[in-house]
């Protein structure tokens, strides 16, 4: 009974679910697009961003990837839209609807 995570979207039919909802295999959370859960997302204004990197460790879902000492675009596939990064940014570079 291998888990076909690709079928586990919110439109999945009962026939597509695994027996007992067992999720077989490791690291499957990457394939599970929790980004579907929200309708609002943070956005970054690159002109205001100083690459201080205070936002990246503040993200509870590790959705702010960092490479070569610079943060990259949000991982919107897994960002649940909590808005914590908006508060973490000292330069007002990150904005999101509903978060001041």
């Amino acid at each position: 009974m291998a888990t076909d995570i690709s079928k586990l979207g919110v439109k999945a039919k009962w026939q597509d679910l695994t027996e007992g909802m067992v999720v077989a295999g490791a690291g499957t959370s990457k394939e599970f697009l929790t980004g579907e859960w929200t309708s609002v997302k943070p956005e970054i204004d690159w002109e205001k961003c100083k690459q201080c990197l205070l936002c990246a460790p503040a993200c509870p879902d590790s959705c702010i990837p960092v490479a070569d000492k610079k943060r990259l675009e949000f991982d919107y596939d897994h960002c649940k839209g909590c808005g914590i990064c908006v508060k973490a940014c000292p330069f007002g570079a990150i904005t999101m609807e509903g978060v001041k």
């Binding site: 009974m1 586990l8 919110v10 999945a12 039919k13 009962w14 026939q15 679910l17 027996e19 007992g20 909802m21 067992v22 999720v23 077989a24 295999g25 490791a26 499957t28």
Partner: protein, 393 residues
Amino acid sequence: MSKRERLSGNEAVAIALRQINPDVFPAFPITPSTEIPQYFASYVANGQVDTEFIPVESEHSSMSAAIGASAAGARALTATSSCGLAFMWEELYIAASNRLPLALALVNRALSGPININCDHSDSMGARDAGWIQIYAENNQEAYDNMVQAYRIAEHKDVRLPIMICQDGFITSHAVENIELLDDADVKKFVGEYEPETYLLNPECPAAVGPYSITDYYFEAKRNQAEGMRHVPQVVLDVAKEFAAISGREYGLFEEYRMDGAERAVIIIGSAAGTTKDAIDALREKGEKVGMIKIRLYRPFPADEIADALKNVKAVAIMDRAESYTNHGGPLGADVMAALFRARSEALAVNYVYGLGGRDVRVTDMENVYAELQKIIDDGDAGETYRFMGIRE
């Protein structure tokens, strides 16, 4: 070679479990099921089984441990009665929804209160919607035979659901009867090895068991679970056929006793079926057209098959050894009447509540039920359909 023995129902089930040699048996004692883990503990101490026997602190824990063991990939079980089953309530649903094929040796006893240690079916009837397979025994031989067949049904790839093997507290659990045991080697071969596809102790494929299901998935998960239940009757019949080949004893979804040409029928579960058979034999001697259906598989409920078995019957008495407080009868009554209604049956049906808290059932009680059914046929009217048998009033 099979072996004749005289055994209590509890000892018979314990011997079946010794022969099955399960991996994990967490247990907490409660009358009248206590002897099952008690006998089994002696098999563990004697080195007759390889089972990890875990004395836990409550039934909540025994079922939790059995679930954990089963999820880990072990063949697990526990035993209980009455309030012990009630204390497992939360876990019963989890075992079923996680599709874990563990077993529960249930010795039926009244639920408190008033507090009582004797037989009725209120404990398992309360758990009838938990998603477990439920199989009931009339006598010690059936309790043994059902236990031997349990894992073959529960672990079948089309089923994968937990199974409750029920017998009547004290009446069969403690009464000693002559029974026939199978050879250890025959049981071992019949039951086979448990080979789960996905299990927590598999280093090749780590897994998550029991994940949270939000509203988007919960309903589909329950429908998926119901599909396992749909396959149960066929698997029960297939396993029974194989069991007959090694034992010579045949089982179905239910037993039809002298139903040929029967105009009046009783539908009953458990040990009182034996008493009813004596009443039927006496009445048949007098030329009365009476018969009985004894339920073996209660969950899932073989509604179509039972309606078909009753198609030529004029009056039916459905016997419930449990109250539902619906003001119109017990759980078996509701199931059978729904089956008759869907089949557009014209049989006149009444529902008796009987035998609560161990109230004795005598042959004359059952003869009276058949006499009442004759009156119903003569009147062409079922009258009060919610009745009590053996109550002082």
